[in-house]
């Protein structure tokens, strides 16, 4: 690590900080802000089997392989051969490191039965050996495992203590970053009070069994001159060595994405503004047994993989092959994604280890596969322990996933159908961004599934309750009928749908009838109009004939009068008669 220079809060001065030596141990450098104090001794203490030696070994091996800092191991309890075999299981090849002069192991055997003390002595021999070892590989790191063994070999406590004090002084003077392992004492941190000589850094390892499950934990008891996480951090020793689960102390400063990812269910996306979840958000799908949580998970996994992403599916209830088989029945082919290395199905028993171990395993898997989405089905299986513990653990996991922009979908099993669904998961609800509830509705001798979005941060989500239908082509969400205090689902919904369809038909028929009646009426009226018009024309014609006749009579009359006038006026008698006759004819 380069000289650590940090700006103070006012930003004007910078102060040199304690130099640190990264251990290379997963997570440890995070919680110590960079590793162990460079050039100083650190005590790693703990009970038997807590992993002290593994810590020391990994510190040396990582130093030699990753930071080009050769190391020296003085082992007081195991021979170099035994040590080589022991750590081979972690994938450390000590033989090769020794051959490359990156590591030197010196087994310091102390056999009290063959030692007789007479007169004054010191432990110069130890110094000679250490110095010789350090010089022959150019060591920057030293591990003393377990230094306290020398207490059994020598009776003169005064000399021992003085020499230990001198040893630590010597290590500091030579700028050797050192890990000293020590047995946990009953009252003090270490059995022989080594911590009084080392004030720089003390790490406590713990291995405890709760509910028959063992959990390893680590705590930085002291770290002079450096801020450090003071919580207990769970850690794991597995094929990849030591790993510490980093804390939630990274705070709430992760950047968020505005990008949306589909849930894989069209109708569910519709309920979430038509776009689905936010990338990197945390989704909880909770519900009772058999509510369809796993199906939603599988659908989401399928969609993520189809869209070109990678998905990690951690199952605690079913084996991978069982999940694949079951999901085939609703038309989801997970197998093809697994073959294309897009989907990683990991299943293990929840009882296999404690909560921290599960989360650590998930951590490691996420680091290994770098998925875009993580599904934990069901997360409730992890929730054994106190609420506070669960909360902090899940917070760590969620924080971890969020900083990596991994969309997390957890399923949660809620107990019993009659309890308040919203309250059972109180332990984790506040950590969740989008909460989808799947609940059973029992009605008319049927049990049907309903889905609704209880909350979804940062989006105008639907408040509808929808019915959740598993078809052989995946999940569908049908609108449900809500009325008179009950929701109608299943066959009740189908009946209602049929009734509604019948109603529509009836209404349609009624309208049609009305339309027909009107048409008839219109036609009748039109016919009447035609008839009346015909009558009118007839009348007009008749009227025309009458007037012609009248004109003709008029003309005839005039003619008669003229004739009569002619007759009276000069022997025109014929004309008068004619008029007389005309008059008579008219009256008849």
């Amino acid at each position: 690590m380069a000289t650590a220079v940090t700006r103070t809060t006012n930003g004007t001065r910078s102060l040199p900080q304690l130099e640190k030596s990264p251990t290379g141990i997963t997570g440890f450098d995070e919680i110590t802000n960079g590793g162990l104090p460079r050039g100083r001794p650190t005590i790693v203490c703990g009970g038997p089997g807590c992993g002290k030696t593994m810590f020391a070994m990994e510190f040396l091996v990582r130093g030699a392989t990753e930071f080009n800092e050769p190391g020296v191991l003085l082992t007081f309890e195991e021979t170099a051969d035994e040590m080589t075999k022991n750590v081979a299981s972690l994938g450390f090849d000590l033989k090769e490191l020794v051959a490359r002069k990156k590591l030197l192991m010196d087994y310091v055997r102390i056999e009290p039965s063959e030692i007789q003390e007479t007169g004054a002595y010191d432990l110069e021999g130890l110094f000679v050996r250490l110095q010789y070892a350090v010089e022959s590989v150019g060591a920057k790191r030293v591990a003393l495992d377990t230094l306290e063994a020398i207490f059994s070999g020598f009776s003169n406590q005064g000399v021992l203590r003085a020499e230990i004090r001198r040893l630590f002084r010597w290590l500091r003077d030579h700028g050797l970053t050192t890990v000293v392992t020590a047995e946990r004492g009953e009252k003090a941190l270490t059995r022989h009070g080594l911590e009084e000589y080392v004030s720089d850094c003390v790490v406590l390892l713990d291995h405890r069994v709760t509910d028959q499950l063992s959990t390893r934990r680590m705590r930085i008891v002291k770290y002079r001159g450096s801020p450090h996480g003071s919580d207990e951090f769970p850690f794991l020793i597995d094929q990849q060595g030591f790993s510490v689960l980093p804390s939630s102390s990274m705070g709430l400063n992760h950047t968020v994405s505005r990008e949306r990812v589909s849930s894989g269910v069209k109708e569910l996306d519709e309920m979430l503004e038509g776009k689905g979840f936010y990338r990197g958000s945390t989704i909880l799908v909770s519900g009772t047994a058999g509510a369809g949580k796993s199906s939603i998970s599988a659908q989401f996994a399928d969609r993520t993989c189809t869209d070109g992403g990678k998905c990690l599916y951690v199952a605690f209830e079913e084996s991978p092959s069982q999940i694949i088989r079951n999901m085939t029945s609703i038309g989801i082919d997970l197998d093809k994604h697994i073959k294309r290395r897009r989907l990683f199905l990991e299943a293990w028993r929840p009882t296999q280890s404690g909560l921290e171990m599960h989360l650590l395993r998930i951590h490691k898997l996420v680091e290994k596969y770098e998925p875009d989405a993580v599904i934990i089905d069901p997360v409730t299986n992890l929730l054994s322990g106190s609420l506070r513990e669960i909360n902090s653990m899940l917070m760590r996991l969620i924080d971890f996933l969020k900083t990596r922009h991994v969309t997390a979908l957890f399923t949660a099993l809620t107990q019993g159908a009659h309890r308040e669904f919203e309250q059972t998961d109180v332990g984790i609800s506040s950590l969740i961004d989008t909460w989808i509830l799947v609940r059973d509705v029992e009605l008319n001798g049927e049990r049907n599934r309903c889905v609704y979005v209880l909350k979804s941060r940062g989006m105008a989500h639907s408040n509808q309750v929808r019915e959740f239908v598993l078809t052989n082509e995946g999940i569908r969400l049908a609108p449900v009928y809500v009325g008179s205090g009950t929701v109608l689902t299943g066959s009740a919904r189908l009946t209602q749908e049929a009734r509604e369809r019948a109603d529509v038909l009836l209404r349609k028929q009624a309208t049609e009838e009305k339309r027909r009646t009107l048409e008839q009426k219109r036609r009748a009226i039109e016919a009447q109009v035609v008839a009346l018009q015909a009558e009118l024309v007839e009348d007009e014609i008749r009227a025309g004939i009458d007037s012609e006749q009248a004109t003709a009579r008029e003309l005839a009359l005039e003619h008669d009068i003229a004739a009569m006038t002619t007759l009276r006026a000069g022997g025109d008698s014929s004309r008068r008669r004619r008029v007389h006759n005309g008059m008579r004819g008219r009256t008849t």
Binding site: E114, T118, G119, Y121, L123, E124, G125, V128, R129, G153
Partner: protein
């Protein structure tokens, strides 16, 4: 400062029933007062009790640090009885004669024989 004193294996009555060769190594680290005292005490003991049947080598770890590992030396000074087996170690400046003899398995009362 390394030197070696060898003497013929010769039976000497009165001290020990064994006539085996006793091979001794004294580990020191430089000429410290403790080292010098140890060497002086050892020479005296050898002269008085092991006349003629011991072989002594003195090893200075400052000069030959690689030799410390072989005999598992931690404390300085350490006297190692390489022969007869089993190996015995006596640490300190060898100022207590009785203890040295017990440690070397040479003391009369401690001998079961």
């Amino acid at each position: 400062m390394s030197r070696s004193t060898a003497a013929k294996s010769k039976r000497r009555s009165g001290t020990n029933g064994s006539d085996e060769l006793i091979e001794l190594r004294l580990y020191v680290a430089g000429q410290t007062p403790k080292s010098l005292a140890a060497l002086a005490n050892l020479n005296k003991i050898c002269q008085e009790h092991l006349q003629g049947r011991y072989k002594l080598s003195v090893i200075d770890l400052i000069k030959k640090p690689q030799l410390a590992q072989g005999d598992q030396i931690l404390a300085i000074p350490t006297l190692v009885r390489k022969l007869p087996v089993p190996i015995r170690k006596i640490i300190g400046d060898l100022s207590n004669l009785d203890r040295v003899l017990v440690g070397l398995n040479l003391h009369e009362p401690e001998e079961p024989k």
